[in-house]
Symmetry: C2
Subunit: 607 residues, 2 copies
């Protein structure tokens, strides 16, 4: 049975009813969270997106038909109830916003019945992910997910509000674009009208937003869908949302300034967190040296120390050979962890190997001042003493060292530092450490390609003061690029772009692009730039990730209404799926069964 | 030569400088619109998105180097100029916001040079569309296009602002979806991880927004990209933007109310037009009878009149046979057009044929009261007199009649009415006639499919008072569907949805869906509805079209930053395009060359 609501008008959402309404008639509608029969009364917890309200059915008040209806109610039935608000007769429920009131039902309609759901609608459900995502429409009823999506909506609104007031225009860029060979893998869309040709879904609106600057739009903003056909990690989705901006006639400080005020605004308005401005800035080199990471979590210390100078002449071959090969020896001090059992240290060694280390050298300073160490035997007392002193090692401390190429040493110790902090519970979720990382290297050497690659992209502006090194020492040229980091997560990043054709040409040369290749890949952008382009700069946030951190969600899927799982499929709608042969015919494409078989065979072999 | 802007800071956009700044130093940046050398002075019109500002270069003030630089400036060079604001020395330019001032340059940097553009950057360019779209980044510099996109940005912002304040949540729905066999043609996206399977780009977020209602989100809003792989008409784009909403626990009046207030708000705030509420409502049947259209332009009269009763016994076979076949005879009175020359009338007849008419009967009432007519000879004086009287025909009027099935008669006269109004210039662009069309038929008979089809979609709620006719006279059942019409254009539409499983089942039965087929197509929505679904309703606007009408653009392309042309290609980026063989291999698809050849042969044959 399902009744119409014709003639009824909802007066309040559940928690919009309060003790200010006592004695008033209200009409509320929602889902049955729970029914309890207590003596001659029936109690219903009614749920909507605002929360829970208690309804009381008393036969003399609601009539025998209404009372009978109330008796049939089960979880997730949708009902409309008219009644009068009164002070709660039983004990006040402190956990509910409406815990001091209840509505005495005078009439009820059952708008929709419900089967028994496959899992209970409740916060912090322990239901398996696959079930939750198959029944996503039920999972989405959970109050915690609802709060996440409501906050996401609010964050997007606050961003737009702020940006509009700062003179940014929201301009939509296309989804059906042209495939660009560089970068991540594109999703392709076959064209029916041009058989054999394909569109690509955009990996970001980068080229379009730079074009808009060349076209004089001055300040652009967009909350834009982006697509990457990559193998998914836990925090990745094949389609994701970017809060994207670009500004003309600015330099780096203008971009950072507007973004700092944006962040302050949304953190205050959305989650009540005060962000102190200006945000700290740290050059990339310092971040790597101190934290082994270009997105350091600065909520705790345990900083890296470079002890290369101290160990350079010692007898421990692991250290000295790393130095001879141009690497470094660095360590962290896990204070107070000197008594860590060998088994646990071994686990850390394994963890370090997962990040590319060949091993991990350790030294624990015993309470009596003696050392327990994997390498002490290779070093003199004096050397050990100097090393411990350099690390600020005190009795009870555990010192951990990595020796390798800089990149590996940073990676290993950066990860280890975080891992230990997690184990020791040093990460306060209510502390918000924002940090700009600046002065990134412009170029990154690729052994694979045997050339320099752009660390951000080929349009990133070098720092004026380094530009004279572009021929002699290209790796030392820093870029006007910046990332915004919160508690060890990169929320977004961007750069000042090159607007001068001579610098751009030189960049392409350094990157090993011929003029032809540059034109093939970026033709229309270079063309546009030849007709007068303003200095411009931009930044993009990963919106999913930003919201995920604001609500402290465990998974990015908890802030996306209809997410995909690791194999990029949607378990609810069963997308992707096979389609009608006729659809493929119209597109003039065929599934290459031979290729499919080969691929499947390969995958089977991998398992 | 292109200089850096390091150390400079823009103080104003061009038209932010005003006579309030006289005597002040300013730094402005923008594009050179025009250079004039006048005596010993150089005048530059500087352009940015805000408008034009006049700069004056006087060698003693700007120095010889600066003056020399100014002498090299050409159209579209990007410059930064510091100078002092003064009252304009020459005559005030009334056409410019800054027409009473000028900036006396004290220094200049050339930030970027420009090639000679292929066309002048100016309003109402007469440049061919293909050139404009190939150089879209230049076309986008035109002040009229910039105003359009700025207004579009504002409209989107106002909508979001209004909706947020009304308790709507903006929730993003996926772009990578599942293909649904019904409806328009889907764009497909091959899956790499699931070779042989495809995603589809959404034609609208319809299913997702209904799911969100089932999930308790209560009020949903989204400005969403939608995709249809159809052959394009002038006002269609393969990807278009929908302002989409859905509301729970509402009936039709709630939806109309919130949308009326939304429209009033955006028309007032964006273009200063006062919309009087409540908007007029007209049942579909009345719209067809009076205007021959379900999106009538009510800015002028010339309404249709049904004269079937008057001509039913006359001697004109065209009229009587149409009536015998269940059709009707209807006419319009083109007042004052009685003297229209025969040649022009013949053109109208041809026009009518384009809309499916077999012909068009006409009668002009001469100034002396006599008739000139294509059919007078078949009718008695009395019959003619009655007919003219029924049409309110006065001397000097032209009466035009169509006789056919109702659908054709409406189509023909509806189109003819508009055509004549255009010719007679009866359409006032500054009048905004909003109108709700309501009570659409629930079903539409399809000769092709030999069954009833849903006029909106299978989830549209029938009107309670008609539901008992669903078996005996299904064509007479009206729906709780509504369109919002402005000056003859459908801006948007929607419906109350069915939330009762018994009504939904009956609908599928009437539509000839087996349970299996219904489940196959709408499985997860029906599943979701079996767990408790609230009454809900929604509406969607075509945002491109809405903005197009607000700015009186001739083409939908003038309100989209990077539009596609009729063959769904982007002339600037050259999308779609061929891709690397490797990309197709990874997706396990092949272009079916045989199919391509056949298709090309077919197309060649058509030409």
């Amino acid at each position: 049975m399902s009744e119409s609501m014709q003639g009824l008008h909802r007066t309040h959402r559940c928690t919009e009813v309060s003790n200010a309404n006592i004695g008033e008639k209200v009409t509320v509608m929602g889902w049955v969270q729970k029914r309890r029969n207590l003596g001659s009364l029936i109690f219903i917890d009614l749920r909507d997106r605002s929360g829970i309200l208690q309804l009381v059915f008393d036969e003399p008040k609601v009539g025998s038909e209404g009372f009978a209806k109330a008796g049939t109610l089960r979880s997730e039935f949708v009902i409309a109830v008219e009644g009068t608000v009164q002070k709660r007769s039983a004990a006040v429920n402190e956990n509910l916003k409406t815990g001091d009131i209840e509505v005495i039902a005078e009439s009820i309609r059952i708008l929709s019945e419900s089967q028994t759901p496959p899992f209970q609608i409740e916060e912090n459900s322990q239901t398996k992910d696959e079930i939750r995502l198959k029944y996503r429409y039920l999972d989405l009823r959970r109050p915690d997910i609802q709060r996440n999506l409501m906050l996401r909506s609010k964050v997007a609104y606050l961003m737009r509000d702020f940006m509009a007031k700062e003179g940014f225009l929201e301009i939509e860029t296309p989804i059906l674009c042209k495939s660009t060979p560089e970068g991540a893998r594109d999703y392709l869309v076959p064209s029916r009208i041009h058989p054999g040709s394909f569109y690509a879904l955009p990996q970001s609106p980068q080229l379009f937003k730079q074009l808009l600057m060349a076209s004089g739009y001055d300040r652009y903003f967009q909350i834009a869908k982006c697509f990457r056909d990559e193998d998914l990690r836990a925090d990745r989705q094949p389609e994701f949302t970017q809060a994207d901006m670009e500004l003309s006639f600015v330099d780096i400080d203008d971009v950072l300034d507007v973004n700092e005020r944006l962040l302050k605004y949304i953190f205050k308005e959305a989650i009540g967190v005060d962000v102190e401005l200006p945000l700290k800035r740290m050059p990339w080199q310092e971040a790597m040296d101190r934290f082994g990471s270009d997105k350091p979590d600065t909520r705790f210390g345990m900083e890296l120390k470079d002890v290369s100078d101290i160990v350079k002449d010692c007898g421990f071959g692991v250290f000295t050979s790393a130095l001879e090969q141009g690497g470094s020896v660095r360590g962290i001090n896990a204070e107070g962890q000197g008594a860590m059992p060998r088994k646990k240290i071994d686990k850390l060694v394994e963890f370090a190997k997962g990040y590319g280390a060949k091993g991990l050298a350790y030294l624990s300073v015993q309470e009596d001042g003696s050392y327990k160490s994997s390498f002490a035997k290779f070093m003199t007392e004096e050397e050990l003493k100097n090393l411990v002193a350099a690390m600020d090692g005190k009795p009870g401390d555990l010192l951990l060292f990595a020796a390798d190429k800089n990149k590996i040493v940073w990676n290993v110790l950066g990860a280890l530092r975080l891992e230990i902090a997690k184990e020791l519970d040093l990460l306060d979720p209510n502390q918000y450490n924002f940090l700009w990382i600046t002065e990134f290297p412009l170029l990154e050497w690729s052994d694979e390609e045997n050339r320099y690659m752009a660390m951000h992209h080929p349009f990133t502006m070098p720092m004026e003061e380094d530009w004279d090194k572009i021929d002699t020492d290209p790796g030392a040229v820093r870029a006007k690029a910046y990332d915004i980091v919160l508690n060890g997560t990169e929320l977004g990043g961007g750069s000042v772009r090159i607007h001068q054709s001579d610098i751009q040409e030189k960049m392409f040369e350094v990157l090993g692009f011929t003029k032809e290749r540059a034109h093939e890949q970026f033709g229309f952008l270079l063309d546009a730039f030849s007709y007068g382009v303003p200095p411009h700069a931009g930044l993009a946030y990963g919106l999913d990730r930003l919201v995920m951190h604001m609500v402290h969600a465990d998974s990015i899927r908890d802030v996306i209404a209809f997410p995909k799982v690791k194999d990029a499929s949607d378990l609810m709608s069963n997308a992707p799926d096979i389609v009608d042969e006729k659809q493929l015919e119209e597109l003039c494409i065929k599934v290459d069964e031979k290729e499919v078989e080969e691929k499947e065979a390969e995958e089977a072999a991998e398992k």
